[in-house]
Symmetry: C2
Subunit: 158 residues, 2 copies
Amino acid sequence: MGAGNQQERLDAKWIVGFVDGEGCFHIGINRQPEMILGWQVLPEFRVVQHRKDTQILTRLQSYFDCGTVGVNNGDRMEFRVRGIRNLTAIVEFFRQNHLRTKKLDDFERFARVIEIIKNGHHLTESGLVEVATLALKMNRRRNSSASKILRDYAPDAN
Amino acid sequence: MGAGNQQERLDAKWIVGFVDGEGCFHIGINRQPEMILGWQVLPEFRVVQHRKDTQILTRLQSYFDCGTVGVNNGDRMEFRVRGIRNLTAIVEFFRQNHLRTKKLDDFERFARVIEIIKNGHHLTESGLVEVATLALKMNRRRNSSASKILRDYAPDAN
């Protein structure tokens, strides 16, 4: 009773279903004094699984031909993709293979942030405000960095 | 930014990926004095989602043409399939469309339990012991009914 056919390439539609369940499109925003506005925008795509299913994470890594597989927390492992070139490929994949749950909304916001970064627009106040606004809509947990950016640069937004 | 194409029939491979992430094959065992051995075996397949994604549960229900969609707990909704005829169809689906994670192991045990019930073998001590043994391997949470059955009918098993 193994997890059969482990070497077989994953199917794109299977991946979409799995990511609809387990995937996460995340926009990290960190204090970074060396950056022009003092903030670094760090988008990442990740899938977390119990370590017993590490094989599925390495198969995702093989499929997308990018990202890393490492420890997330305790018994949990993660497949994580960072970097604009890699994330552009991830966005392209989910443009061609549509998410079916409300995770699609997070994906659309994520894709917009990638676009903003590609244009260098996140280095301007208005671009950073847009990123922060999108990040606040995406992440379930409070995003204190995004909130601070809006207070600083868009105090009238609320 | 809706969850687009909501009326389109789900793809089998998407369903497998989604169930690899979010599905649950469960063997309930309940005290039931009217049953021959005093225990009722109640297998069920379920998928739980936040209520914002109820649409995906009703689409699963449409796809499989069985089961119910209702409240699981608080904000969470569930698509649930019970009954041997319905579950036989579910088993057949996952025989044709292979799970890729370790959930496959739970599925194989689940499929075996369905087979045992179809044969009426769960009404015998040896059949019930096999069901209890499989259930103990499947469910993450302690299954006190299964443990009691093994203590009563297969005390040498440990």
